[in-house]
Every structure is written in structure tokens, then in C-alpha cells.
Symmetry: C2
Subunit: 336 residues, 2 copies
């Protein structure tokens, strides 16, 4: 590990010069030949400032904690793909922290948050665990950005336009002549679930179709709950001819439920999901979905968090470009 002292000795200057040069101190007056000697020494010794020492001095570690509930969920993977390069651009590294650990384990929480292992936290507010983390983080004044969720003003949050996207998906079904359009909602106390349901209602109302509780079911966020949700819905008196599912994974489960109920998709039942991931393309039938700017959301979340770390005020951002788009595959069709 070459230290700044070695570089300084190598170049025949004092450490402060090396530091100020490398950090671009505007008040630094330095001769060209000295500058070049220092830079040459840096190159030759392959010097990089020690992470820990710099963090200690600056009281900023250069890492951002990322707490998502489940890496298997392709939605989070996509957000991550957007967030990581953005973090790098801003000079930060992402640190993976387990949401549940943060919520339940005092030792982990202390180590990470109180011990200053991260400069800020990016949190997917999903489970009740996330709520607990938010409550615990608040008093420590650690910069915090809630991901994929609209939040109230004192907090920072970055979301996508779930409502518009849900409306788009539902309208697609309406345009195919459907009027009995069910919705399998995410569930839970979060804006995503509410907004997607609201978008569904928006589209129905705009088309003059009455919104009925009979066509509202629970879809959850994994295939199993989607399967159960559609199965239960199909057992009711009033059978839908189309269903808008609030999650891709649940939509995949719904596809299986339809098959097991003896229905052909899309001839007997149209299914549209939420969020495009390459999974949607490879199920049978390929799933129509509405695509939202998830990577962009990841990128924005990093930007907002870095702003917060730099002392700027909290922001609530809705990422709306590119706009939600329909990806029409084979799971949606005309009304039977």
C-alpha cells in the first residue's frame, strides 16, 4: 500500500502538496515541473488515496447502502443496474445491506448506520421491515431515499408514474373490447399498490365502465400469490374477460392459474402485467406488459441521494421519461 508520504518523498515534495494537487485545490500554486514530478510519482507507484484515511478525515466514506428485499425479483435487479453506474459516476460505491438485518438486528444497524459505514441509504419500502428501518434511521439523520414509492414531504423519494402506467395497461384492454376487467392488486400499505389500482379505476371510469369490487382481487408480488389471486377471482360469480395484474411475477402466476382453470390465454382471458423484465418474454404465452423507466429510477435515486448527502434539501421525484409504454405480446387479445 503506497501512502501519500511515499509519493511525496518520491517526488521530493511534502504530502500536503500531493494531496492538494490530486484534489484540485484551487488555491494551490505549483510550478509545472513540480506538478509533473508529482504526477509521475503517482503513476509510478500506482498510488490511490487510502479509502479509510480519507473517509476518516473527510467524514464521508463514499459508500451508499442499498437495501432491497429480494435480489431474485427482476424489478430490483433492473433498478440496481441503473443505480450502480450512477453511483460510480458520483464517486460512490454501492454497499449491499440486508433490509431485515437492518430492521431487526441492533448490532448490524449500529455497525452500519451509527458506525458511519455508509453515507446514505437507498431503501425499497416494501415490507413492514422497511418501515422499521425508516423509523430507526430518522433520528440518526442519515440521508435516506425511498425507492419506487411516493413519499410525503420531509422525506426524499423517487418513484415512477404507476398510476399512468396502470391506466395505460387497462386502456389497452378496453380498446380490445373488454368491459369486465379485473385487477389483481399488489396489496400492502404502499403507494404502488394504491396508484396501480387508481390507474385501473381511472381507465374504467374514462370509458364509462363502472368500477366493481367484484373484480378486484389480491395478486401480491410473487407467482404463487398471483396464482391464488386469479384462482380465487375466477371462483366468483362474475367472471372477468381480462385482468390487469399489478406485478409481472404475479401475472406469471396468473397465467398458470388460468391454464389450470381450463382457460386459454388470450382467447378466454386476457392478461397484462406490470413492469417488463425478460421473464415476461419467455413465459407462455409471452406476456403483454407495461414498461416503466426502472433503470432511470435507479439512476435518479442515486442523484437525489447524493444531493442529500451534499446537504441539498429533500426531493420527491417522479421519473416520467421515458414514458410508460405498452409492450404488447400474446397474452392480450379481443374480448371472447
Amino acid at each position: 500500500m503506497t501512502s501519500i508520504t511515499e509519493v511525496a518523498r518520491h517526488a521530493g515534495v511534502s504530502p500536503s502538496i500531493v494531496s492538494r494537487l490530486l484534489n484540485g485545490d484551487p488555491t494551490l500554486r505549483i510550478r509545472t515541473d513540480t506538478r509533473e514530478r508529482v504526477l509521475a510519482a503517482v503513476e509510478e507507484l500506482d498510488y490511490a488515496p487510502n479509502h479509510a484515511a480519507r473517509a476518516l478525515r473527510r467524514s464521508r466514506v463514499g459508500t451508499i447502502g442499498l437495501a432491497v428485499p429480494d435480489m431474485h425479483n427482476p424489478v430490483y435487479a433492473t433498478i440496481l443496474e441503473g443505480a450502480r453506474p450512477a453511483a460510480t459516476e458520483h464517486g460512490f460505491v454501492l454497499m449491499l445491506t440486508d433490509l431485515d438485518d437492518l430492521a431487526s438486528d441492533t448490532t448490524t444497524f449500529r455497525r452500519i448506520v451509527r458506525g458511519g459505514a455508509i453515507d446514505g441509504l437507498l431503501l425499497q419500502r416494501n415490507s413492514t421491515a422497511a418501515g422499521r428501518v425508516v423509523d430507526r434511521v430518522a433520528p440518526s439523520r442519515l440521508p435516506l431515499v425511498i425507492l419506487n414509492e411516493r413519499v410525503r414531504s420531509p422525506a426524499s423519494g423517487v418513484a415512477v408514474d404507476d398510476r399512468a402506467a396502470a391506466r395505460l395497461a387497462t386502456r389497452h384492454l378496453i380498446e380490445h373490447g373488454h368491459t369486465d376487467i379485473a385487477h389483481l392488486r399488489l396489496g400492502g400499505r404502499n403507494s404502488r399498490s394504491r396508484d396501480r389500482q387508481a390507474g385501473w379505476e381511472d381507465a374504467l371510469r374514462e370509458a364509462g365502465i363502472p368500477v366493481s369490487r367484484d373484480l378486484l382481487g389480491h395478486g401480491g408480488v410473487v407467482p404463487e400469490t398471483g396464482y391464488r389471486g386469479l384462482t380465487e377471482l375466477l371462483a366468483r360469480d362474475r367472471r372477468p374477460t381480462a385482468v390487469f395484474v399489478g406485478s409481472v411475477l404475479a401475472a406469471v402466476g396468473a397465467l398458470a392459474a388460468a391454464r389450470d382453470a381450463g382457460l386459454t390465454v388470450p382467447d378466454d382471458l386476457s392478461v397484462i402485467g406490470f413492469h417488463d423484465t425478460w421473464l415476461a418474454e419467455h413465459v407462455d404465452p409471452p406476456l403483454s406488459v407495461v414498461r416503466l423507466p426502472l433503470e432511470e429510477m435507479g439512476r435518479e435515486a442515486i442523484r437525489v441521494l447524493v444531493d442529500l448527502i451534499e446537504g441539498k434539501p429533500p426531493q420527491q421525484v417522479m421519473v416520467s421519461t421515458p414514458e410508460p409504454t405498452l409492450i404488447i405480446r400474446s397474452s392480450t387479445g379481443k374480448v371472447p
Copy 2:
């Protein structure tokens, strides 16, 4: 940020006592009442040692870098699910580093590796990028563990028994009466690809079936390459009745290729994939696969890396419990 000095003042002792007590210094002699005063102060101030200061002093940061090519790949997500809790157990946090950045960007590499931002690196050796990273890391003596790949002795690696698993998968096809069994290999210069092909050959040879180049194709690791691979294979003179695909994602692509070629799976063609992820369950038809202990591999990799960080010698580990298992779904059946 409460510091150790504040805790010391609060308890009426010197900082060294606090440090030695909290770190369990065995040479520390301390009165019970003093100990309790210190612990009470720690609790009251909710003190945790500053990450950066401790890292600086100990020259160990407590983080492990993880470089995988693609989070969308459920295989990596699964390995990660195993690695993260193991890291926490050992007192480390996982840091996400981009493989390509590490390979190509000097600044990032310096910052992370030379700057001592990680104590060790867990690397999925996949692309040529990974090879470059290995070469660059070597001179810096950063502890390095290659994931999911057999390696030669001076390096450390953790792998699963690809060959046995491939043999198992192929034998499953043989037991269903198939003799024209193709293999879509991963490709690339890595042991995974070679071992899976070797396992396929093992099973054929054991059954007295000649191994033919005509039945060997390229599958890659994503659906698109799997699609192309099978399409090309089906265009040859000799048509297989079954195919063992070296990756789940490629197998999913192969399913689509079979459908587009007018073949019904499994009636006209049996398909078996490698690695079980919940994706396999939800494609049509549900894909038979062979399941390997991926989470366990992630956990083991952390153990080996931590050993390395603590100065123990390199190890090459093959994770073989639980043993590879067949997960039989509906994509494999009797020979037509």
C-alpha cells in the same frame, strides 16, 4: 456521531479502556463497576466504533467486493443470497463492484483495489473481463476467490460439481430411452462449460452411446443464444430427440426455438436445463433441470475468502452437499 472519547468521558475512564473492553482484550483487568459504567455509557450514547477510523488503524475495512457480470441472471442472484448472510456472520459487508469497470477503468480499479476499499474480492470468472481483473489484482496481493469455477492451485476457487450434475441430467434423458441426445454448451474458456460437456459425454459413454460432434452445439448463457443454438442444431442432418442445455436461460431460449421449429416439447423433443431458478418453473412447458447447491457455494466462497483475508492458505473447494438433484418437470419425456 458519538466517538470513543465521548463514551470514555461519560464513563469517567480513558478511551483505551473503552476500546479494550469492547474488543475483548484478554489482558484487560477491569473492576466490575467500571466495566458496567462503560457498558452503560455505550448503551446510552448508542455508540458504535467509527468504521473509517477502525479500518485505518487495523488496516482492514471489513468489506468484501463482489463482482458479477449481471444481476439479472438468477444464478448470480442465488449465489448472492447465500453470500450475503455469510458475509454478515463473519463481520463483513458486501460491496458491489462492476466487473467491467474493474477490468477497464483504471480509476475505479485504483480507487477500490489500491485504495484499500475492500479486503478481498469475490469474482465470477465469466467473461474475458474477469480474466483481466484477475491479472490486475494478482500483483496487489488482494485476497481473491474465483466463484463457480475450478481453478489451479495458487488461486482460491469455489465451485460446484458441474460434471456430476451434467451426467445426472443426461442420464435422466437416457433413462427415458433417448439415444440421440444433443448438448448445447455454454462456450467460453471456463471449467463450467468443459465440465458440463464432459458430464454429458460421461453419461453417454457409460450407456454405450457414441459421442458425436454432430450433436454438440453452442447454447451460451442467455435465451437468445439458446434459441439460436437449438435452431442451428435442428437444421443439421441428424436431429436429436433430446437436448441437455448447459444453462437455464439458454434452455428457455431453446424451448422457444423448438416451438418455432414446429416441435412439441417433450413429445418431439425433450429439453433439460442446468440450475434451478424459479424461472424454470414458470415457462411453458415447465422446465426439467438439475439443481446445484448455489447458495451453499456463495456461503463457502465467503468462508474461503475470509480465511484468505486472515492469512490462511488458498483453497480450492468443490461444494458437493447437498448433491446435485434432478427436478423433473414437463419438458422431458419418453423418446418419440
